[in-house]
């Protein structure tokens, strides 16, 4: 009996703290069973199939290689084409820093306090950002929208399906966990230090993270005590949006995405995670990640990195173009190419190509079937959706890109993009190239 009561209380507590408000209303677009034949397929789990076939049916991948062809299947000759999983960007600010880049649209940083774990990036997402459509033309099927890095705890990120929609809820990736954006280093201490507020130093950063985690632990304890209580008149603790997010991160329900450049700071953060018993899922930017590649792999932490950005601030001064390849090198690594850019997200394949070329020039042997993981499977792992997308394997969401050639080239283009088996972009068909409300009717006197 007592057991049952506890279960019910837990369920209530859970509904108070972590049930999903603003739920996903995403529905896949209509699709036909389709078989692609004769393509070079990079499966995303390290394999390459030349002259391969692939069945997409009921929104999922039916089979890769060989299998039964449904009677009503559309047959598409994809010889000469390359097929990859839909491309995933784990670090985007589309919608929260949209185009046009006007002050009225600047909704990515709640830079009014160093700890704003209570804000959710999705509440800033403008679905009419033309950046979404450009990213789609580059093969992006899934992306995580993060708050900016002004704050130590910037708030929750949201993972979206890159489908045109009037609301962000209709883009929300069903079942994807939230992310928690945190930031190391120069940005928070500059933003608040310049206002003579804490933090103004790196030690101030760490003190403030730890203080927040202690509050979150207490919050968890309060709820646990409430749940354990057998009093009839027991009252639940007061809800606290900030602490709900932090508690979710401590419990592993919300994945931690930590903006951090310097190797020594990343190791400090890993020790802090040990202290409070949580996991850092992914370090973002990590321009010095190559200095601790073994440690990152040993801790099972992903590194979401740029191919060649460096030098724009002091903590980015040691950036090298082999970073992604070197972080990828150890056994058990999780190297990711991310964009943090409305330009980079449109050609994440080119960013990966640059990283691969530099790795190979340095003497590593990186193949396309391996490197594609940096923008598919590893990214899906970082977002906690690797059971749903990120590889071309039977039963997963049919998020796929048909490329006109080897995608690791400046000349590669996404010919067609499918999300959950539905064609949502077709380079050869204007009718399947979405146009946002913002762009509709602009420059009407200009003939293209």
């Amino acid at each position: 009996m007592r057991g049952v009561t506890t279960l019910i209380s837990l369920a209530m507590a859970a509904s108070a703290a972590i049930a999903e408000p603003f739920p996903s209303t995403y529905k896949p677009l209509p699709s036909n069973p389709t078989v692609f034949t004769g393509a070079t397929i990079l499966t995303g789990d390290g394999n390459r199939i030349d002259g391969g076939n692939l069945l997409v049916a009921n929104g999922i991948i039916g089979w890769v290689g060989t299998g039964e062809i449904p009677d009503n299947a559309l047959m598409i000759d994809a010889s000469g084409k390359w097929i990859t999983p839909g491309i995933i960007d784990v670090h985007s600010h589309l919608g929260v820093y949209p185009s046009p880049d006007v002050r009225a649209h600047s909704d990515g940083n709640e830079a009014t306090a160093p700890v704003t774990a209570e804000v959710w990036a999705e509440h800033s997402v403008w679905p009419q950002d033309p950046g979404f459509t450009r990213a789609l033309a580059g093969g992006i099927t899934t992306l995580q929208i993060l708050p900016g890095s002004a704050n130590l705890f910037g708030g929750r990120g949201v993972t979206l399906k890159n489908v045109p929609a009037t609301t962000y809820q209709a883009m929300k990736f069903p079942g994807a966990p939230h992310g928690l954006k945190m930031a190391c280093g120069e940005n928070p201490k500059r933003v608040y230090g310049s206002r003579s507020k804490a933090p103004s130093t790196r030690m101030g950063n760490v003190a403030a993270y730890r203080t927040a985690w202690i509050k979150a632990q207490n919050y968890i304890d309060e709820w646990a005590a409430f749940e354990a209580s057998e009093k009839d008149d027991k009252k639940p603790p007061k809800r606290d949006l900030e602490l709900e997010t932090l508690a979710g991160a401590l419990k592993g329900e919300i994945l931690v995405h930590m903006h951090c450049y310097r190797a020594d700071e990343m190791m400090t953060v890993l020790d802090m995670a040990e202290e409070f018993g949580y996991r850092v899922g992914t370090f973002h930017h990590g321009v010095e990640a190559y200095k601790i590649a073994d440690e990152l792999a040993a801790n099972g932490v992903c590194g979401a990195l740029w191919a060649d950005w460096w030098g724009f601030k002091m903590e980015a001064y040691d950036g090298i173009q082999e970073n992604i390849a070197l972080v990828d090198r150890p056994e058990g690594s999780c190297s990711i190419v991310h964009s943090d850019s409305d330009e980079g997200i449109q050609r994440l394949n080119q960013e990966a190509a640059k990283a691969m070329a530099k790795g190979n020039a340095a003497g590593l042997s990186i193949t396309p079937e391996h490197a594609i993981r940096w923008i598919t499977a590893n990214a899906a792992k970082s977002l906690g959706i690797d059971d749903k997308t990120g590889t071309l394997s039977a039963g997963k969401m049919a998020d796929i890109v048909i490329w006109n050639q080897n995608p690791f080239s400046v000349y590669a283009k996404a010919d067609q993009v499918y999300v959950d088996g539905a064609l949502i972009f077709d380079r050869g068909n204007k009718a399947m190239q979405p146009v946002t409300d913002f762009e509709l009717g602009q420059l009407l006197e200009v003939s293209p």
Binding site: P100, M314, Y317, G319, R347, A362, V410, Y411, F438
Partner: protein, 411 residues
């Protein structure tokens, strides 16, 4: 008379000291001019210059040979309008010298010349050069005046005085910069017009110092004015202004240039653009599109590329590749990356042809593809050591070492 003799003697000494010969064999040579591509090219380099290009040439005895193995060789590339060498770390203001604001005069300063602050020892110079780049347009960036200042072509060869070509004056007329002149970009035109009036007949309202007048006059007579504009209608104003004042203009940005391509071609005004710009980033650039370069080129407008990057100036190669992927003929893109900027800004000729200085790059594959890297850069006829602060950091962390990395010091 005495002066002339000295110059000749110095010239001889330089020639002897720098004499280093090199032969590149079996290259797929992109010449950067109308010749386009020479297959199986042997390139004989003497005293820093290309002496001969041909097939199956006799290799002189004892000369270093690089076998290109049919891989592409191009003239070394142009890194675009950049502040590399003016900035070490962007967010470290004391290491950044490309613009000024809140100066203690209220004048315009066309005499502000960023070349005075150029640092050839900046880590960015080698980092950019070893990716296949030999020159750039050193740029005064937007401060708080209509005229940003002047710069010009710079060779990325590590010299203190590696400048060439005509003075380039930078003027920012974007919607953003209008805030510096009371809110309207029309005020920029008003002030620019007044500054030019001062050149012609003096004026009661003085916007220029005597030095400023001299500088602006020099630019107007034999320099280039680079207008940072994107909107089609603003580009039309540039065309009018350039005609009215008989100045050579270059459009920098030019996101909507394709809309007025014919007018630009008619006025012989080149466009330096970022071929990745395809978003309506602001209300100046609603017409941004990936085939801007292709459309301009087809209309007869001279196109060059500029990424707007400093540390990543090397990215301009990716721009050129994307321009080709979106319809620009490859030969035009190669020209835009090699000989065109030198021609427009008055630098030395940069084609890979006999008699020219040997600034060349051997690529691992297609020179405009991100899948390729610069395998060997040749500057002034000498193979570059291909070492930068970044390659040293890479090498330090490539191999695992029993000692702390700080003991891993290259020879």
């Amino acid at each position: 008379m005495r002066r002339t003799v000295t110059a000749i003697v110095l010239g001889l000494v330089t020639a002897v000291v720098s004499a280093q010969d090199l032969v590149i064999t079996n290259a797929t040579l992109y010449t950067g001019d109308d010749t386009n591509v020479i297959e199986n090219a042997d390139i004989i380099i003497e005293n820093g210059r290309i002496k001969r290009i041909g097939q199956d040439l006799a290799v002189p005895e004892g000369v270093e040979v690089i076998d290109a193995n049919q891989q592409p060789v191009t003239p070394a590339f142009f890194a675009g309008a950049t502040v590399s060498g003016l900035v070490e770390v962007s967010a470290v203001s004391e290491s950044a010298d490309s613009d000024y604001e809140a100066l203690y005069t209220e004048l315009m300063h066309p005499e502000f010349d960023v070349r005075m602050a150029y640092n050839p020892h900046s880590s960015l110079i080698r980092i950019t050069r070893i990716e296949g780049f030999s020159y750039a347009l050193l740029t005064a960036t937007s401060g708080d005046r209509s005229i940003s200042g002047q710069g010009g072509l710079v060779r990325l060869d590590g010299g203190y005085d590696s400048f060439e070509g005509k003075p380039a004056l930078f003027v920012d007329l974007s919607g953003y910069s209008a805030d510096n002149v009371g809110g309207s970009r029309a005020a920029h035109w008003m002030l620019l017009g007044q500054a030019f009036d001062e050149l012609e007949r003096g004026a009661e309202l003085e916007l220029l110092s005597p030095r400023g007048r001299t500088a602006l006059r020099d630019v107007a007579n034999d320099g280039i004015i680079v207008f940072n504009v994107n909107r089609a209608t603003d580009i039309m104003q540039v065309i009018k202004f350039a005609k009215a004042h008989s100045v050579q203009a270059v459009i920098h940005g030019g996101r909507e240039a394709w809309i007025v391509a014919d007018a630009l071609a008619e006025a012989s005004i080149p466009v330096m653009l970022n071929a990745l710009d395809n978003l309506p980033a602001n209300f100046d650039s609603l017409g941004s599109r990936l085939d801007n370069a292709a459309l301009l080129n087809a209309a007869g407008v001279t196109v060059m590329f500029s990424s707007g990057e400093t540390h990543n100036a090397r990215k301009v190669r990716q721009l050129a590749g994307n321009a080709v992927a979106n319809g620009m003929p490859k030969q035009a893109a190669i020209k835009a990356m090699t000989t065109t900027p030198a021609r427009i800004f008055g630098g030395r000729e940069r084609s890979a042809s006999e008699g020219k200085v040997a600034d060349l790059v051997l690529w691992t594959g297609d020179p405009l593809d991100v899948a390729s890297v610069a395998q060997q850069v040749v500057i002034n006829g000498k193979p570059d050591p291909m070492i930068s602060r970044q390659t040293l950091l890479r090498d330090r962390y490539m191999d695992r070492s029993p000692l702390p990395r700080a003991y891993s010091i290259p020879d």
